[in-house]
Symmetry: C4
Subunit: 207 residues, 4 copies
């Protein structure tokens, strides 16, 4: 029961392969939301491209978010030894928010420069998507700990630290929903900086 | 003949990898059918988004359907020890309905609020797609049983139960075609609830 | 040199995984070329859908073609023991025509019912795409035989038969280019029937 | 430390699988940027298709570029024995430019025949994307050498040659940015020829 056998390992690997596929597709589909500027006669391409900076900024932020999520998923599942149906469905709950992200990304880019409330709403929808993904990560981690699906070598301190880490991530993203109503542009910047922070924090503490 | 050898196992794993790829892509492509509301000057984003609830409801239902289908495919192929060309083509027949699903999903969302017969037709097309996928699952299971491609440890009772299970699923989805002509919205709700039912039923009986 | 070692096998498996990915994506992207009919006020959905039968027929034909190509690729690479850069590039040449197929499929569907020369041109472009894919398969097989990358257990008769088989396939598809100028609809039917023929021929002779 | 263990190998293989997925999707998404000509009544398809040659030329060039990049990535990671977070993020930096490529490809095709500065700008944006990908490859190689993540069998001469090779590639692509302002069409041709050169150079020197 405690020792993972061959078929359990196989199942974990198919779950990871499916998740990798979804992450890889979602991160690549982001490009479909980028549109070359439609130029009227005699207009120049370069200033038109610069004018469309919000779509590139949103692309970059979502690429960074999905990239770090994939690395995070990867790290998490390296510590998970066995899987069951419950984990499979919680993982689908996470993938729901991963696959959805291109939609709020595109909507965010479209309204980022709006002077109206629409910029704030688009930012809040984007932030809510990220928050729900962070909640999904927390639920998965809580579930695997509760059901003893992880490696036994983790110490109490490591466990506490890992739970704290996921809870804090969820809080950060939830705070972004509030910030959305202050400034859409700052919200996008924070999304990008949070991804960068997690990247460097992982580089420093885990290897 | 009874014992699966290395090359048979390899073939099963490539079949599963290909199927995983198709499931992962189909479930991720659903997002491309979501469109941010096109706002005229001075219109507000939030009510426009709420007004587009059918596309989010259809997205959620199809995500749940494809997710549970993937879990189901996964469970089924864990019990299949060997594969042959016949199984490969039946699997393609299933994948045909998996890859097609984004099309009726988008059409269903577009017509869900129509007062005319069109809402019922769109619901019926969607239900027919799900029914054909359920038939494909039944055919695969019937084929692997008949050709002794499954594990030998299954008892008679387990076999009977598994056949009954797939047949009932097909009946449920076929009934949805009829319900489509009563109410499109109820049809979509049932599609979602059936997926949830299968999720929890699997959680309970299989682990 | 003759015996495949671990790193050669690993390379073959990554080549197959990449090809599987491309096949899975191309077969799933076909659905993006399907468009729900745009209805004017009071028009009914069902007859409008039936009127759009060419796009469903073209979808089905291309799904069958890509499906059988994947099975064929699968069978071929099970017989290939080792790979080298030449094989990798010939495989990319094949994948070029695999990834391109959604484009002529969509164009074929759009012009299938045209009374003008355009229907024949669209059919010929589609047939040319299939012919180039068949040529790519023949080149790969010729290359692996010439460079001794296949299993040693194949007899002379089996080799001759396999070469004949790929050459005939290429001839059949090339003949479709000519038939395109007689009837676009017959061309599409032949594409579908050829895929079915290969499916059943493989079922019969290989297992 | 020097000997790669099971979990390191597993991690490398998941990194490669994720990258393969991204490459496979990016190369297949290129087709979505191809559009059948929209014909007014009585217009003929064939000349309209020929008139759209830039989109096919750009498709072919980007397919060749991504194809050779994938082969290159493949060769590089066969020499990498272990991975760490740093490598994972540098790899994401490379994949950023891989997934972005369909966007400048489509913009390049659209403006290739423009008489204005726009053709040059589109060519320069395309070349910049390729240059950034080449820089990413160089960074990865520099990083794995510095951190001793590669096989030990490489001689000093081989190492020097490999560093030179990546640096030269970066220089070639950077030079394309300059050439963009002389001729957009020549730039596209060079992108294709560089991919072909790398293909044949690898065929000759590596097997």
């Amino acid at each position: 029961m405690a020792v993972s056998n061959q078929s359990d390992l196989a199942e974990t690997s198919r779950l990871e392969a499916f998740s990798d596929g979804v992450f890889a597709i979602a991160i690549t589909l982001l490009v479909l939301e980028l549109h070359a500027p439609v130029l009227s006669e005699g207009r120049r391409l370069w200033p038109a491209l610069l004018h469309e900076w919000p779509q590139f900024a949103a692309y970059l932020a979502s690429f960074a978010v999905l990239g770090i999520m994939w690395v995070n998923h990867h790290s998490m599942f390296r510590q998970i030894e066995r899987t069951d149906r419950g984990l499979m469905f919680l993982n689908l709950f996470l993938l729901l928010w991963v696959t959805l992200l291109p939609f709020p990304t595109s909507m965010f880019a479209e309204h980022l420069k709006d002077e109206s409330i629409n910029a704030h709403v688009a930012a809040a929808v984007y932030s809510t998507n990220l928050t729900l993904a962070a909640i999904a990560f927390s639920l998965i981690w809580w579930y695997v700990l509760r059901n003893h699906l992880v490696e036994h070598q983790l110490t109490k301190a490591q466990l506490r630290k890992s739970v704290l880490r996921y809870s804090l991530g969820t809080l950060f993203y939830a705070a972004m929903i509030g910030i959305s109503f202050l400034s859409a542009k700052v919200t996008l910047l924070i999304a990008f900086l949070l991804a960068m922070y997690y990247a460097f924090e992982q580089l420093r503490t885990r290897d």
